[in-house]
Symmetry: C2
Subunit: 117 residues, 2 copies
């Protein structure tokens, strides 16, 4: 759920576990009317959730999209999940934008990062 | 770590929790010599790990790549992590192919899928 407009692109860092992540994998329909605006609004909204850590997004053109959102704890994720505007966007996603998707919510046990010296 | 050559593309399904996933987010260097062959070999190897469930991959051209690999349990992930050929590929990745990356290993607590009726 990012347009990756900022440069340079860097993956979200490896936080100290435990923390939570939500993997959202999608295949979109032909009808993407309104998707961009809603997506931008969701990116804005999620930043206000206390405990939100960041988001990675990648999209293979015409194929699979993956968004991974990171949260400090389960409460932060529950708050995001319960957000009324987010729920309305999800409903519209099922009605219009997504051919199929999968959501995996998971607790991070181990992480590390690498940056070229 | 997929070339997405099979059609149609579908996300890995929502398995019954608990299961494990590894999120691997990457920004690649200009030097991608040998990457494709190694990647194909890794995809072949991981399929032999007992408990391997599948893999999602998305790549925004020139920007972020995300690979998510799913495993039935922590042992399956440990076996994949300890594979000698995989370790050699990781080492070459750090030396040549990756500008930076992050790995998050997590235990899935909740999942669901949607397919357009």
């Amino acid at each position: 759920m990012s347009d990756q407009s900022e440069a340079p692109v860097t993956p979200v860092e490896a936080y100290e576990p435990p923390y939570y992540l939500a993997v959202f994998t999608t295949v979109r329909t032909q009808d993407q009317n309104g998707y961009g605006e809603t997506n931008a609004r969701m990116e804005e909204l999620v930043r206000d959730i206390p405990g939100y850590l960041g988001m990675d997004h990648a999209q293979t053109p015409g194929e699979l999209g993956i968004t991974v959102a990171y949260f400090r704890d389960a409460d932060a994720l529950t708050e995001w999940r319960s957000n009324a505007e987010h729920r309305a966007a999800q409903q519209r996603g099922r009605a219009e934008w997504y051919q199929n998707y999968t959501l995996h919510v998971a607790k991070v046990e181990r992480s590390h990062g690498f940056t070229r010296p």
